[in-house]
Symmetry: C2
Subunit: 168 residues, 2 copies
Amino acid sequence: MRILGIDPGSVNTGYGIIDDRAGCPAHITDGTISTKSSVPLPERLTIIFYQMQQIIKEYHPDVAAIEGIFLAKNVKTVAILGHARGVLLLSAADARLSVFEYSPMEIKQSVVGYGLATKEQVQKMVRELLKVEYLPKPDAADALATAICHMHHYKTNAYLEKNLRSEV
Amino acid sequence: MRILGIDPGSVNTGYGIIDDRAGCPAHITDGTISTKSSVPLPERLTIIFYQMQQIIKEYHPDVAAIEGIFLAKNVKTVAILGHARGVLLLSAADARLSVFEYSPMEIKQSVVGYGLATKEQVQKMVRELLKVEYLPKPDAADALATAICHMHHYKTNAYLEKNLRSEV
C-alpha cells in the first residue's frame, strides 16, 4: 500500500509518500509545495491544487492521510487553512483516493511517542524511521509523519478486525 | 460585463449571474448547488467544484464576486466554510476570472439599503431589482445580491477613478 501524507498550509504544504513494505515504512519521496503569501489566495489555491494533482499522477498513492484542523487556533488562520485543505481534499477525491484525517497529536504520538513533540523531534524521528540520509524539511517531515501515522492506524484496525472476526 | 455572484456553503452554494446593461442589472440565471451533509466532505467538495466549473463554462462570466467569511461565526463552521470557499475560488481562478470579495453587510446594504436585512428581505428586493417573476431561493438570492453589490462597487470605483483622472 502506498500512502500520501499531507500537511496542509496556504503558504507551504508538505507532502510525503511512503510504501508499507511488509510492515516497514519505506520512503518514496517528500517535498513542499510553496507559494508566496503576497500572491492572491485564488492563485495560491490554483498552484496547490495543480501541484498536488501532479504529485498524485506521478506516484499513484492508494490512500491519502491529512492533518486535521486544529480548531483552537485563531479563527482567521482556521479560515485560510480551510481554503487550502479544501483544494487538497478535492485533489485527493478527484483521483478517487480515500482520505483519512488525524489530529496533530495523533501524528506526533505516532512517530515520536509524545503528542507535544517539537517540529525538530518529528524531523529527526522521521529521518530515523524512514532511513533517509537528509533531514526532511519541517512541513515535508510532518507530511511523512502523517503517512506513518496512517500506516500504524491502518495496521491496528486491520489486526483488531481480524481478531474480532476470529472470536465470532 | 457579466458578473457571477457566489454565496458559498459546504451543503448549499448559491450562484447568480447578472449582466450590467447600461447601468441596469439584468438577470441571466440563478440556482443552488446542493450536496447532502451525510456525504463525506471530499466528495461534497468535488461536486461543488465541478458544478461551478460547468456553470462558468456555460455562462462565461467576466468576473466573480463572493461573500467573505464572517469571522465571528463558530470556528468549526468557519473551517468547513473555508473548504467550500477554497474550491469555489479555485474554480473561478482556474477560469481566469478576477475574484472580488464583499462582506455580508456590504451585500445586504447594496440591495436592501440596510446591512442587517433578513434573508426574506434580500429575496424580495432581488426579485424587484432584477424583475424576475419567481422568488429566488435564499442562497441563490444572496448570490444575486453579491453580483449586484459588485456592480455597484465597480461603477462607483469607475466613476471615482474617472473623476480623479479629470482633476489631474
